[in-house]
């Protein structure tokens, strides 16, 4: 049986990708942020997952506004990383797992999550930056990947509660896959930031830290907050934090917090990292 051994949350800020490409990890501005990933990389190196499901939002690379799926999942043998016109370094292709993808799709749809199926999917910095933070910039990465894109760009975007329930359905789907493999789920995006309007530049440390603590210990808390309220506090782009709930929902109640890290500002954003071990799957 497939085992979901852990969940990780991470921001996916494009400036991180640029800093990695320019090897700025030890510069004073960046060092504390990057050092906060060491513990996660050590854990990954120890547990060696076979595959990562990466929950992220597309930023106008694979999806244009002519067709916007609320939830979309990759079902390809591989995924090309590509630059969305910003001059970011690409990372070649990521190996997928068609059989697991189609199993997840069948399970999700029968669980009433009518997810968009993508047999071809270009992945942008939302996917690439977390993968690079976790598995390095000198690819190919030692894990397979399955992209799961959540619309956080074109409103209306799904509610925090819907994201949490998608995660729960995903957890059931992974647990029912007959192949013996180790899976991790990465919830990316956020935390507080706003990149537009006269209110650009919002960082709400209190909200970010409350989110981290509640997502670990009481994830239903965030599911009770409306998207408007999240945007009011955490900024329009801070809404991405709802994607952490897909990760958290997949894990269930029997978890252990192995690592927590927060740094701000990273570029324009409050950046959080959480590593949760799924004790239910380890036992």
């Amino acid at each position: 049986m497939a085992r979901l051994i852990g969940g990780i949350s991470s921001s996916h800020i494009p400036a991180i990708g640029i800093a990695i490409a320019k090897k700025l990890q030890n510069e004073p501005y960046w060092k504390r942020f990057f050092d906060g990933y060491d513990a996660v990389r050590e854990w990954l190196n120890k547990v060696k997952p076979d595959l990562a499901i990466v929950v992220y939002n597309d930023h106008g690379l694979n999806f244009f506004l002519d067709q916007v799926p609320t939830f979309a999942i990759g079902a390809a043998a591989s995924y090309e990383t590509a630059d969305e016109g910003w001059g970011l370094k690409t990372q070649g292709s990521v190996e997928g797992d068609e059989q697991l993808s189609w199993h997840l799709i069948e399970s999700l749809v029968s669980d009433e999550f009518d997810i968009t199926i993508c047999q071809k999917m270009l992945v942008d910095h939302g996917f690439v930056v977390p993968m690079t933070l976790l598995w390095g910039e000198d690819g190919p990465w030692p894990v397979k990947g399955i992209p799961l894109a959540v619309n956080t760009v074109q409103h209306p975007v799904p509610s925090a509660q819907r994201c949490y329930r998608l995660g729960q359905a995903l957890g059931r789907a992974i647990a029912s896959y007959p192949d013996d493999m180790k899976v991790v789920i990465v919830g990316t995006g956020g935390m507080s930031h706003q990149l537009q309007g006269e209110r650009a530049g919002i960082i709400d440390v209190d909200f970010d830290l409350e989110c981290i603590e509640k997502i670990i210990h009481d994830p239903e808390w965030l599911t009770r907050i409306s998207n408007s309220e999240i945007m009011r506090r955490a900024g329009t782009e801070g809404i991405e934090t709802i994607m952490w709930l897909v990760m958290r929902g997949a894990l269930g109640d029997n978890i252990k917090t192995l690592h927590k890290h927060y740094h701000a500002p990273v570029s324009n954003t409050g950046a959080g990292v959480v590593l949760l071990e799924n004790l239910a799957a380890i036992a």
Partner: protein, 133 residues
């Protein structure tokens, strides 16, 4: 024939990218989407105005793009991730664009970010269990 009101409409200085804005700014965003292709980026840099014409942008939209007037572009339905693809041609980062939308310099914008995050380490210590660095 009326656009729905939303409970986020009163958030100050904020342009939530909803259906009304997306419908209005479709051609602007469509043009910006074309910059995913390097050949289109090269064509746009050779003659920005002519490239705007290819996407049937009107004079107001074209002027906002040529002037890198991001607040106006938000009003015209531009989405920030698509506007970021345009900012690059003006030698601007997203941070520069944010500063311009806030009517401050990029250095002042960076100070705003630092100010908003000030004191976060002591908050981490108070909650406990966080990486110290």
């Amino acid at each position: 024939m009326v656009w729905a009101k939303h409970d986020y409409d009163d958030i100050p200085g904020t342009y939530v990218f909803n259906g009304e804005r997306s419908a209005k700014g479709y051609r602007i965003n469509k043009m910006a989407f074309s910059f995913n292709d390097a050949a289109n980026r090269a064509e746009f840099s050779r003659d920005m105005a002519a490239y705007c014409d290819k996407f049937q942008l009107n004079d107001e939209e074209k002027k906002a793009i040529l002037d890198a007037d991001f607040t106006r572009l938000l009003e015209l339905g531009g989405n920030i991730y698509y506007l970021a693809k345009i900012a690059i041609f003006h030698g601007m980062t997203v941070q520069d664009a944010c500063a311009r939308m806030s009517k401050i310099t990029t250095d002042e914008f960076k100070q705003r970010l630092l100010g908003n995050a000030e004191g976060f380490k002591s908050k981490l210590e108070k909650i406990g269990g966080y990486y110290h660095g």
